[in-house]
Symmetry: D3
Subunit: 127 residues, 6 copies
């Protein structure tokens, strides 16, 4: 196991312990090595880096996925959950999304708000 | 003067006191009301909101402008300066940019690193 | 109430009188001030400006939302309704969409045509 | 009939013989000439050109639609079918999609994998 | 010569008579048939269609190229010239650009204003 | 050294032997580990995979970078060089680019042709 993969696995253990298994179950038959490669790259080579705290990293991701819009709906929802798992509150998530109206336009921001609403409703229903 | 405009002006006073005058000098002949409208919307209606601290807001902007890529080069450079003005250090800026390789792809992240390098070099040359 | 907000409200009174209330009902709990801010910015600071007639403004919006694609489906449908409300006919809407095949590619244009079809069918069903 | 239209029709005869009729049935009432224009431009003026073999052209399309993401889901699925019709195997399709994680980011690549999965499942169900 | 090509050529005769020759000189050695294909598709199959007047078509193009940002700078400048050639005035061009702040974000709109400024300055210098 | 990193290094040895050193010299002071991480991810985890030949992978990259446009100019030029290094000829590169007019629109395709022209001219000047 590489260092980056190890660091990635240690990090998702805190954020979303089932993530690698879920991804492997969903994609590894189609693309051998997918889950491991994603954990190594996204979490081991990025989120686990020093120099910026994890909560801020997650809020940056929320902002970027909102601004990119369109193709990132499912990923935005997963990352809103991860962001709450780092200790951010709902208001911080909403503010990071709404600020993107300035940079990505109103449709992107509104779609981001809709995604957050869905996540919050699902969490409330599960509570 | 509206409340949102007033809040926006108070905020840029801290980040970049000449911003409204610079924008007015550059665009208001072409588009009357441009600078005021931008300050009201971007700073008064977004950055000045409660619920998320200004430094994190700026790092979110760095991330989103990096991920959007292409059309946002000049704005990324200005916002890197604003982000440093909120107390973020260079490493935090670089980390927010590089994380976008995961979401916007390598070209976007590399172009963001190039923009940061230019800002840092300009600041060092001016120091 | 600011001037821009007042101008925005006067304009949506003609296009879609319930818009601010609908938006407030949908988002203001999540994001206080959302509906007012949107009306002030989009309608008061843009659509209500002199220098370009409202129908052409709306057709420009149709074109841009089509070209941007992906993240703008719901907004495209609302703006097709607003465009018809300014006196544009269906053929003008379709032509503005199809022209975007040149600039945004065929998938964007075809998705735009699908959105228009849905709006027209809903209007016909309601007639 | 123009040369480009003729070349386009000859080519789709091999890839997807019903394509022009399906497109005409779906869009020509809304936009007279749509299907003919699409066949002439996309197939006659691009896919039918010499200089690059059809299978590679189709894999290039898969890659680009994956990277563009968001607005291209339905077109990606149709083009995965066309790509298999040129003799590409499923593994080649999956590899062309996954490579886009480097250039368009992970969300784009994952959405592309999901689209391929849907096409493969539909083909298997129809087999 | 096809009908669409003929219609396209008749239209650019009014907007920019040298366009096909300029494009052929620039790209036909690299890509035989480029200029003819572009005139047939963009002008013959889109701009020359009935159902929407040419000036509005051009303003729609300005809006979309602004919103798409990044990759469309040179094309935006050419189309601003074409739009003025249809009888639009500078204010209409500026308004179509600025409205895109709502849909594509501030960076896109500001880059569009910069492009318009360059075109206007070049026209004034040539006057 | 991880397996993926080793595979990536073996592959760039053929395509562009100086790549890791050039990237390290340019970015590793700003972002420790950058060059190694890029080689591991892009080349070890993607290009070096079985299932699709390297030349087709590179043509897919050309297509996607063209369609993404804007933010990918420098990367497109480097990848055109890599694609020629896999044995593709110039015509194949041009065709992969021009086909993107269908999916990403004319501006994206034209900008791609311009990038190819620059690469070819540089190669001819160096010959």
């Amino acid at each position: 196991m590489t260092d980056a993969l190890e660091r990635g696995r240690a990090l998702i253990e805190k954020l979303n312990p089932d993530l690698e298994a879920v991804l492997a179950g969903r994609y590894d038959d189609l693309l051998p090595g997918f889950a491991e490669s994603l954990v190594e790259w996204a979490y081991g080579r990025h989120y686990a880096r020093p120099g910026l705290d994890l909560k801020t990293r997650q809020l940056c991701t929320i902002a970027a996925l909102t601004a990119l819009g369109g193709q990132t709906g499912p990923q935005l929802k997963i990352n809103i959950e991860h962001t709450l798992a780092t200790g951010a509150n709902r208001e911080e998530v909403i503010e990071a999304i709404w600020q993107m109206a300035v940079y990505g336009g109103l449709p992107a921001a509104i779609n981001g708000l809709n995604a957050a609403r869905e996540v919050f409703d699902e969490l409330d229903a599960a509570a």
